[in-house]
């Protein structure tokens, strides 16, 4: 599903942080163009 897609990642400190999502997305063959972790509180 994510193969050859470009991914923009916004992670959540109290949920799944950006770098963790990044690893999963890369494994699925997507290119990460932006990744960050945000604090929503």
């Amino acid at each position: 599903m994510l193969k050859d897609k470009k991914a923009i990642i916004i992670g959540d400190r109290d949920g799944i942080p950006g770098p963790a999502i990044e690893q999963c997305v890369k494994t699925a063959g997507a290119e990460v163009v932006f990744s960050s972790t945000e604090c929503f509180v």
Binding site: D14, G15, P17, G18, P19, A20, S36, C39, F40
Partner: protein, 512 residues
């Protein structure tokens, strides 16, 4: 001997005018779209002082309702009628905005706060009746200004206006013409933080068996920075607040770690007291104007009142072991290290299971976890979910992975070992510490045996690292008076052996 949690205080200052004029969501909106519907209608969504006092999570914060009692009320709590309307609580108070502006003026030692004459007279009268404000400070209200002079400071000298009930009642001037670190905006934020810290310190001393003179050290752990252009963030709020609070024998310093700051500071305090360096250390913090109305746009768009209308503060007293108060077990400290990584499993393990395992404890051996205790009334409408619940689910999931509970018991784990959140979203304020006042009582009443305090901080917001951070420690029932440092049998044997060896050596030398 472990140090103990001797007391805790919690205060709120209802500051609706600061929501409009100083919260960054509103100031940013004013910059990008000053005519927006949000700003036009904002004042209609602000709560009165009485509504703010009657809000159940606020009454929980100052100690009049326990977390268990709060959980008994249906959410959302802003729709609940409440019989609790007290200003004073077991742990502190909810101060109205005019008195808080007065306290800001008291905390200003550089003559930067200018109050309008009538307002100053009215605030002086009110603060004269406040039992914790030293009358020696009230003379600050005798030197006041005409409104035209204050408007001149605002127009010509970039002073930040102080509003009360929509009217300009004073201003805060810049402390330097050019230095951005001493601008009126920065001084405003810092004086608010200092004043709310001072009020927390005063309540801590008032409500616990301790004299001001006995405090030796204060660690301030908010998220503001004071300093000038040559040492931005040089500090120190701790000593500045201690001075106004009359802690004459205290020095101190500031500890920073974003929202994790208070937990770091408590570990520092507990360690210093356990080492015998100091007997009484206070960890304290004031609140933040920037975060007022932070989620206001979502609240207003959903017809919810602005719930982030209070500046908050707290103070925690860490003392030498009295044989009664709960102990801070600094042998069980969780750490999210540089190498921990960011997978949720690693993060939560590093803060909980890894530390507990070393002490031979399981996740289920902790009766209550106090995590990011943000009020879900505030976060859920803004799309940030129920933050404490999300944290409890992750701890529970880890317990299931480690076969300490069955997967089917996850919901029970969350309700048994967790709590609802009640703290305002002021960054460091909800992080682990809001439960400490209740935890002390519950540990002393044998309602719980152990609690774990977890603080997490978003370091990446400072753009120096992509990492975030977290630390934790365990609070436990006091093991009883007379707990002495013991020397093991093995150590005694080694000491005797060393002495005999030394004796034999002397004999040989004498014979020689």
């Amino acid at each position: 001997m472990y140090s103990v949690l001797k007391g805790a205080s919690y205060i709120l200052a209802h500051t609706p005018d600061m929501v409009i004029h100083n919260g960054t969501t509103q100031t940013t909106q004013r910059t990008i779209d000053p005519d927006s519907e949000y700003l036009k209608n904002l004042d209609k969504s602000l709560r009165s002082y009485d509504e703010c006092k009657a809000y159940l999570p606020n009454q929980t914060y100052i100690g009049n309702i326990t977390p268990d009692e709060l959980a008994g009320y249906a959410q959302p709590w802003y729709q609940q009628k409440s019989d609790y309307i007290q200003r004073e609580g077991r742990f502190g108070e909810i101060m109205p905005e005019d008195e808080f502006i007065g306290l800001i003026a008291i905390c200003d030692v550089f003559d930067l706060v200018k109050l309008e004459s009538q307002f100053a007279v009215s605030v002086k009268k009110k603060l004269e009746t406040h039992s914790l404000i030293d009358p020696k400070f009230l003379s600050v209200f005798d030197k006041n200004f005409e409104l035209s002079e204050i408007n001149g400071f605002i127009a010509d000298e970039h002073a930040e206006p102080l509003y009360y009930e929509g009217m300009v009642v004073g201003c805060i001037k810049a402390a330097h013409d050019i230095d951005h670190s001493l601008s009126a905006h920065v001084i405003f934020e810092n004086l608010v933080s200092k004043a709310s810290c001072v009020l927390s310190l005063l309540h801590l001393i008032d409500k616990n068996d301790i004299r001001k003179e006995e405090i030796e050290y204060v660690i301030e752990c908010s998220e503001e920075a004071c300093g000038d252009m040559n040492q931005r963030g040089g500090g120190n709020f701790a000593k500045a607040a201690a001075e106004i609070a009359g802690l004459v024998n205290a020095t101190g310093c500031d500890v920073r770690g974003f929202c994790a700051g208070p937990t770091h500071a408590l570990i520092h305090a507990a360690t210093m007291v356990k080492a015998g360096t100091f007997k009484n250390v206070i960890v304290a913090a004031g609140g933040s104007t920037a975060k007022l109305g932070m989620n206001g746009k979502d609240h207003v768009s959903k017809g919810i009142p602005i719930l982030e209308d209070c500046v908050a503060g707290f103070a925690i007293l860490v003392s030498a072991n009295d044989g009664v108060s709960p102990e801070i077990n600094t042998d069980i400290v969780g750490r999210h290290t540089v190498g921990t990584g960011s997978s949720p499993q690693n993060v939560i393990s590093s803060l909980t299971a890894s530390a507990l395992e070393k002490a031979g404890l399981k996740l289920t051996d902790i009766d209550k976890y106090t995590v990011e205790m943000q009020n879900p009334d505030i976060t859920k409408p803004a799309g940030a979910g129920n933050v404490p619940e999300a944290n409890y689910k992750m701890i529970g999931a880890l317990a299931a992975m480690r076969k300490e509970i069955e997967k089917s018991q996850l919901a029970d784990f969350v309700s048994e070992h967790g709590m609802v959140g009640w703290a305002p979203t002021q960054g460091h304020i909800p992080s682990g510490v809001p439960y400490l006042g209740f935890a002390r009582q519950e540990l002393m009443d044998n309602k719980i045996t152990r609690a774990m305090v977890i603080g997490k901080g978003s370091l990446f917001l400072g753009r120096m690292t992509n990492l975030f951070d977290g630390v934790s420690f365990v609070l436990q029932q006091n093991s009883g008076a007379g707990q002495e440092e013991t020397v093991s049998e093995d150590k005694i044997r080694k000491l005797i052996a060393a002495s005999l060896k030394d004796f034999a050596k002397h004999l040989q030398e004498d014979e020689g």
